[in-house]
Symmetry: C2
Subunit: 261 residues, 2 copies
DNA sequence: CTTGCCCACTCGTCTATACGAGTATGCCTG
DNA sequence: CAGGCATACTCGTATAGACGAGTGGGCAAG
């Protein structure tokens, strides 16, 4: 094994910078320089304690900084590893164009198959419920809505959790209220029902996940979520659906094409 | 002062959940329920040590979880506070439409003034430099570029750091290479130079900030950044500008309008 | 009354120690 | 040879204590 000093250097006792930050800095730099590669194991806490001559809590503090940055993750009993960058899913802004709505399978499945990954959808739940204040406002003051919840997985990893909300007067009793909305998804059904789609509005935020989001998306620490709220409007200007999506930020790149007008 | 028990409850010694997580859970819930309001001070470490009968490090561990979630922030010598949600800036997808390009001031200034906040732009730097691999690819294999860097502040708080890259054959010697690109910004100049803009492509990612981004954006811990890369294409299909923007995620909501086509 | 200092309280950093629990490996037993 | 167990190594949790440094209020001196 290569000796640590050759990889990691010494501390600067004259520096104002806290020792645990200096250690974190050195590890970060070593990772950035590729001295530790993706998925590779970092020196164990004990080794770093030895190398730097500090206490274990100090080393753990350093690791906790890097974890917060999403650079590394710890595995109990194994070690601390450089977090591999997962393959990302690109979401193009034309993904809801009518021409993509012909096939029988959902856009998610088709797209993932094409990319060679194994897609899955689970946690399906379709039910009527009271609209939250926000959803109600977006849908134009409806009291109750049909909520369609589902979780998307790629190669076994949860990447996205989405809920669609539709006004009851539109969705109740239609195939939209069924677990499987049929070919082309709910947008195809909406159009068949006479609600011709005119445009979508998407709002994008990024933030740290709530504990429940950490759980459902099995997020590593230091991974933010992208929160996307899409509202679909029909040609009469009515909001016919709101889709609230929380995505693991390390699994997505969103891509939009805008006219220069 | 209200006694802590009335706000915070007890630990469950039979629970599998680690003590510091239980404490974090209770504090989080109290914050969510509004028992501690935005900007309000949480009980001090000493008080929580007393209340729960645990050691100080355990309490600090709890705080560090909440900091990682961006829920609270600590101020040396003062206490730990519920992090106030700053006002957000909405970026609409039509913000580069030609009709917004008439006025003398930059879009950022106009928009912030309208919102009643005090906008500022600093750290201006305009220079020629070697294009990175990524920028070169996006601009169509150019070696050197003109880079325009600037930082945007709202009411004294840095919210965004952006760099525009333009091919030298377009920008060199023009007003684009001046610190002040004139009314309507560089897009107006590009069109005057005969590069009529056709469309933009925007790529959006979210991630935790690098240490240098923490510094330039003065980010609190637990605040991700939104990384937006916009490429501007002219009517001949040539990429004429790439703008790389890093935004404090808690200060922005991006909004896009998409045709249903 | 004002100024300035001191002190109490806050979080920041660091040490040393202890035990628990998950993982992997190799040896020993059947 | 196969299975299982012991063991060493990993990180997770928690305690107790020490000192440093930023903040703010009160008190004392001018």
């Amino acid at each position: 094994m290569t000796s640590l000093p050759s990889l990691l250097g010494d501390l600067d006792p004259t520096s104002d910078r806290a020792v645990f930050r200096q250690i974190a800095d050195q590890l970060r730099e070593a990772i950035d320089r590729g001295r530790f590669k993706e998925g590779e194991k970092l020196p164990s806490e004990a080794e770093l304690v030895e190398h730097y001559g500090v206490s274990r809590m100090t080393v753990r503090n350093s690791f906790s900084i890097l974890q917060g940055e999403g650079l590394v993750h710890a595995e109990h009993g194994k070690g601390v590893f450089v977090r591999p960058r997962p393959p990302v899913r690109r979401l193009a802004s034309d993904r809801f164009a009518r021409r993509h709505r012909e096939q029988g399978k959902s856009a998610f499945i088709v797209e993932a198959d094409a990319a060679g990954s194994h897609p899955q959808v689970d946690s399906l739940e379709v039910k009527e419920e009271k609209a939250s204040q926000d959803i109600s406002t977006r849908l134009g003051s409806v009291r109750r809505v049909l909520a369609r919840r589902r979780r998307y997985l790629l190669d076994g990893r949860p990447v996205e959790f989405a809920t669609s909300y539709l006004p009851l007067d539109i969705a109740r009793g239609t195939q939209i209220a069924e677990p499987n909305p049929g070919p082309g998804g709910i947008y195809a059904r909406l159009e068949e029902l006479g609600h011709h789609l005119d445009h979508f509005e998407e709002e994008i935020r990024a933030r740290m996940p709530s504990p429940s989001e950490v759980k459902t998306l099995r997020l590593a620490s230091g991974v933010p979520v992208i929160h996307l709220i899409r509202t679909a409007y029909d040609t009469e200007g009515r909001a016919v659906e709101v889709c609230d999506t929380v995505m693991a930020a390390d699994a997505y790149v969103l891509s939009y094409q805008l006219p220069a007008t």
